[in-house]
Symmetry: C2
Subunit: 203 residues, 2 copies
């Protein structure tokens, strides 16, 4: 028979051990660098988590840039929130919408190139510490931009600049170059139950 | 031999078809409801995407509430960003840190119960349209709260109130009750390469 005291003691020993392992792991990490972060997968939350990271970075005083390679999931709510930080954020909405909306490949390529030029300016700006390249993976998947050129530029980022790339179907070259890759996987979606897009959630 | 014109025409037809399917799908969704959204999985971005959703909701003028059931991943950057919205956000940091840090189950249970009481107050407040219950899944996994009681209350939420629940190892009862579940799956992590937690990203 075990008593409540035995249970408590066992729980305490187990948790102390887990904490010791975690503390040791944290102490072993010593490299400071600008991270290349990729959010991919078919699920929700890729752009939203990038936006959340940017709000955190803004809260810490970083100057940030956003380039939207597609019409994307970022709309008025995000813009209004970001505007609270005034000129601490530079926002470039250059995408023309997804290709199945424009139905014009030449226009998509031109838009992607314009968005990439804005990216290069942000990367070269010493004041910018955090950049979101929203839906860049989609532009690369459709070959609207040269993958080798883009990945080489991202790899050459400064050590004090973090970059977050979003979009489903990230190319292998992008995954190889990234420090941190998270896949957002849809498990259940209310659209399947006939529920429409809800204000404050989807737009 | 195909010409560039043939290719363009084929691309245009394919994309027009895809857009027609998508438009029809969107039109079929007609139900308005407050959503229960779950972010789970071992990957990054669960709390960050919830925070991003909240910033979007704030940007649309919703009053929001946050209850942190653990010490969690939300720190000074998030607080600073949320403070830009003044009393539009109510923030409750009641968790005592993860259990392997406190090593005291009775204290964890008391903290979880206090956090749940704050949740019930937010859910009953007609002004609150959006609530984040950060790391609630962890409190449920450790049985710090009664799963049946929590899920029944969440299911009984108002139709004009969205709730986002985060934390790995979401219980099956929570998944069953949710409208939208996304699993964040780690694909690659810079900690494995010896890179330490970076300001503006992890804290």
């Amino acid at each position: 028979m075990t008593t409540a005291n035995d249970d408590d003691a066992r729980h305490k020993a187990k948790m102390a051990n887990r904490k010791a392992i975690q503390d040791k792991e944290v102490a072993a990490k010593t490299i400071e660098k600008g991270l290349l972060i990729v959010h991919t997968g078919k699920g929700k939350g890729k752009s939203t988590a990038a936006f959340g990271l940017m709000m955190r970075a803004l809260g810490r005083g970083f100057r940030c840039g956003v380039v939207q390679f597609g019409k994307g999931a970022w709309q008025s709510g995000e813009r209004t929130a970001a505007e609270k930080f005034g000129d601490q954020v530079q926002w470039h909405t250059l995408g023309e919408g997804f290709t199945w909306e424009t139905q014009d490949r030449a226009r998509d390529v031109a838009a992607a190139e314009k968005a990439w030029a804005a990216t290069e300016r942000l990367m070269a700006d010493p004041a910018i510490r955090f950049i979101v390249l929203d839906e860049l993976n989609i532009a690369l998947r459709y070959d609207h931009l040269d993958i080798a050129k883009v990945v080489a530029a991202l790899k050459a980022r400064r050590h004090d600049q973090h970059i977050v790339v979003t979009g489903r179907n990230a190319r292998q070259e992008m995954l190889d170059a990234a420090d941190l890759v998270t896949e957002m996987t849809p498990v259940k979606h209310h659209f399947a139950a006939g529920v429409k897009a809800q204000e404050g959630i989807e737009f």
